[in-house]
């Protein structure tokens, strides 16, 4: 039954005609990949690279224009049903029925796949053990948290052992703990049932766990091979540097990124990890000392992400430096002051209850002007609730909440004038143009006449939207939409910018660009409050707060958080390890406490 290769795509091409815009988009162009049996294969690449299209072609939900897609030895174009009988597929939105309970969703898929009654009991038991959903079998799927939905979606694809499992970005918007659990399930099944899996992801650490990785970009395969082979392309090019005590890692990172010979730079564990181009390293890298100043760089072993960035940079030359330069010079018309100790957000004993459920429990923290402040926590930890209260979208049950000098419980309208808010879904009007969106939001913030025109010009140049004024917002690519959303949030030159999971589902390249803008904004004096599921992004923050079950578990600089998690000089953590460590310590302690109390 098991052929050595589960899927073969040969020269696959697929294009879409967008009628409204009157143009064709090439989703896939001459893509050839193989998925080996009994192993994990990852599909990585930026937004719009063609990952979803490739998975849909494999599932027989689309027909390729050119080339052949062969799944389990069957041509997907001629007999998709034969393939669909034998594989499983989890689309990005999981495909669950919200009105049906966990058990009913499972039963539906078991019936559709014709799983005999006598083997179901055992299979269900196993799935429930792995997913830890056993306690919730009668709960409607719509009432599950994001992480649990994702696990149920996976369980539904596993009601019988499929010959190939296709997963489309299964971990978007899911917290690190749930993400880790999902991957543990996958690896267990690959080991025990020889499951073959093709999974698309924007997390490089997930791709690194696979046997084979294919990097897609603009519909083409940029590179593929084992994670090690891709990683090794960055051999000898990776370094780490510790910034001087008086400089935040992100400043040094920004300087590194602004240099043309830097492939990538990220703050990591208090240091800055960076990759230089091979050409410059071979010449002895004469410019590096100038960029680094007093600090010394030490060579580092490469990671998969370094290899990925190297592959992408060979295709994409995004000029981050110019974007950042514009951002700093024309920013929010405030004096470019570095952060001060003056706090712009003060939260004391904040409580929010929904019925008898306490979503946020006596939370206190303060944020200083010009600071980048991160809210982290697993799904359902209360960070969205906290976030909404800070933006004045949700009244607090008790406690004090001061934003930009206004008591949010009394002068919400005044406080809102000082706040810019960019929601996760980018609240834009898709059928209005960029200019029309900006004019509308400007009007909503009370801007008009010359002031509105000035501000529109400023944010458009700040976010490189000058040439896109007449483009319809709904037809813009994802990265553009995000820039437009941020531009609308900054139109009224607010003191504080709130960003709710702005990088969810974005690839590393887009996220670098995004963070370069954010750090430039903070330089210019705008305070930024942000939520994210990418723990390494916490490294960009001056301080972060980690919440779980409504309580603050940790508050401090990234370095302080790592130390709280138990980091020593001998044993270093990255932020994700620190995060998981702190949340699990706390959950164990509270469970132990509960047991003692009982």
């Amino acid at each position: 039954m098991n052929t050595p290769v589960a899927l073969v795509a040969q020269g696959v091409g697929k294009r879409f005609v967008i009628k409204k815009a009157g143009r064709t988009v090439v989703a896939l162009d001459d893509v050839s990949i193989e998925v080996k049996s009994a192993a994990l294969t990852a599909l990585v690449g930026p937004d719009g690279a063609g990952k979803t299209t490739l998975l849909r072609l494999a599932a027989g939900l689309m027909v390729a224009d050119t080339g052949t897609m062969t799944v389990l030895g069957i041509d997907a174009a001629t007999d998709p049903q034969a393939i669909q009988n034998r594989i499983s597929y989890m689309p990005q939105r999981f495909g669950l029925y919200d009105d049906l309970s966990v058990q009913e969703n499972l039963d539906l898929y078991a019936d559709l796949h014709g799983v005999p009654q006598d083997v179901r009991g055992k299979r269900y038991q196993r799935l429930m053990e792995m997913t830890d959903l056993g306690r919730f079998t009668s709960r409607p799927a719509g009432k599950l948290s994001g992480g649990m939905k994702q696990k149920l979606g996976l369980a539904c694809t596993l009601v019988r052992s499929p010959e190939l499992l296709l997963l489309d970005e299964p971990t978007v918007g899911v917290d690190p703990l749930s993400r880790r659990e999902l991957w543990e399930i996958l690896e267990q099944l690959v080991g025990e049932e020889n499951l073959s899996v093709l999974v698309s992801t924007s997390y490089m650490d997930e791709a690194a766990r696979c046997a084979h990785v294919a990097i897609l970009h603009d519909g083409k395969v940029l590179a593929q091979g084992t994670p090690e082979s891709i990683r090794d392309t960055a051999e000898d090019l990776c370094f780490a540097v510790t910034p001087p005590a008086d400089e935040a890692p992100r400043h040094l990172q920004a300087r590194l990124l602004d240099d043309d010979d830097t492939v990538d730079a990220v703050p990591r564990g208090g240091k800055v990890h960076f990759v230089r181009t091979r050409a410059t390293v071979e010449q002895g890298d004469p410019d590096l000392a100038r960029v680094l100043g007093a600090s010394r760089a030490e060579p580092m072993p490469p990671t998969l992400e370094d290899g990925f960035m190297l592959a992408l940079r060979s295709k994409v030359q995004r000029d981050l430096s110019s974007a950042a330069a514009v951002a700093t010079s024309t920013s929010t018309s405030k004096p470019a002051s570095a952060k001060t100790d003056q706090s712009v957000i003060e939260v004391k004993d904040l409580v929010r209850t929904f019925g008898d459920f306490t979503a946020v429990d006596r939370t206190s923290f303060s944020v200083s002007r010009g600071e980048i402040f991160g809210l982290l926590g697993p799904n359902g930890a209360g960070k969205t609730t906290t976030f909404r209260m800070l933006c004045g979208l949700l009244p607090a049950s008790s406690g004090t909440l001061r934003v930009a000098g206004h008591d949010l419980r009394k002068a919400r309208a005044h406080a809102r004038q000082q706040i810019g808010y960019v929601s996760q879904k980018f609240a834009l009007y898709g059928n209005l143009t960029v200019d029309e969106n900006l004019t509308f939001f400007g009007g909503a913030y009370g801007l008009s006449g010359t002031r509105l025109r000035e501000r529109m010009a400023a944010v458009k140049s700040q976010f490189e939207l000058d040439d896109a004024g007449h483009a319809q917002a709904g037809l813009l690519p994802g990265g553009f939409k995000q820039r437009l959303a941020m531009a609308t949030g900054l139109l009224h030159a607010p003191d504080i910018l709130f960003l709710d999971e702005p990088t969810s589902g974005a690839d590393p390249l887009a996220r670098r660009e995004f963070w370069r803008r954010i750090t430039a904004l903070a330089e210019a004096g705008t305070t930024v409050v942000i939520t994210t599921h990418f723990m390494e992004e916490a490294e960009y923050c001056d301080r972060v707060v980690i919440q779980d079950a409504g309580k603050v578990l940790a508050l401090g600089t990234p370095a302080e958080i790592r130390r709280q998690a138990g980091e020593t000089d001998a044993r270093t953590f990255d932020m994700e390890q620190a995060f998981i460590g702190i949340v699990e310590q706390n959950r164990k302690a509270s469970r132990g406490g509960a047991r003692e109390a009982a």
Binding site: R56, Y89, R93, G95, D99
Partner: protein, 376 residues
Amino acid sequence: MNGGFWQRLLALTRKEVKQLLRDRSNLMMGIALPAVLILIFGYGLSFDVKNAPVAVVMEDHSVTANDMIAGLRLSPYLAPRVVNSMHDAEALMLDRKVDAILRLPSDFSRRLGLGDAHAQLILHGADANTARTIEGYVQSALAQSTVLQGDRSGASPGASVGSVYLEQRLWFNEANTSTWFLVPGLIVLITTLVGAFLTALVMAREWERGTLEALFVTPVRPLEILLAKIIPYFGVGMIGLLMCLLAARFLFDVPIYGSLWLILLVSVFYLFVALGIGLLISAVTKNQFTASQLALVTSFMPALMLSGFIYDLRNMPLAVEAVGRILPATHYMEVLKSLFLAGNLWPVILKNCVILIGYAVVVLAAARMKTRKLIG
């Protein structure tokens, strides 16, 4: 068809029924809305005129004239209100306190004796239908009084010179109650609402929410997905139909001259047409909002306006009439009305049934063609 067909169909149908019962908005639209429509159309909306206020200007104070007015008072359809002058009557008419003015001139009774009496009737024409109805009521009330007058004066009816007594009979709706023809129309509307509108909505929801994408990559066949949608909503449609039939019989006392079984049979045919339209619309639009708009415009509104429910097709401009004639709802309406009020007229039944079956086959086949396991 492979062996798992029944198992999959059963699983999908069970899922559909559960969703239907749990989603309150579906139940509201499938059961509560038809009930509300029945009450609105049965009690609220009616083209009958009852107790229409009529100003009576008495310029003749004779006994004869007073008898005449008494005759008007006896009519359940009119509420005469005697005023002193034409001026007062006009004021009432302008305020729309009365719908008509009846003026009996000073020489009314004298000329009545001569068989040449004139009375003036002025009608408020803003609502032409009501005006015409009142005209009829006043005329017949006056005529009746005249005949009585003649009887009383001892003369034979034929002797009342020059007056012709018109004996009126309304066939098929003897009482001329509008609920009689509204109820069959209501059945058409409710069947369309559940079949086309609700089904289009729930199917488009599956496309929109991406649940079909996951469902497609299983052994399930498109036909099974469609059948699983048709079965429960067919049931909801039949419940709506039964509610209408019960209301017709026991609430509004509408007679059913034709066979109840035939009514059920043609309704089944039409329900399949409506379900097919709903499924076809959702398969083409794949979007709840567009699907609901399209279902409203292409099935519900035409069933209301162009099927001969409210407006007689023959009074419409030719082009509009032609559109109306094409609609399956019109054929259903025609056969239902005749079954309710005229009995088993086989030529009408056969012709319309054949047309409805033809429509059902075409739209269901088109829905099947358009529902393919493809995304985008």
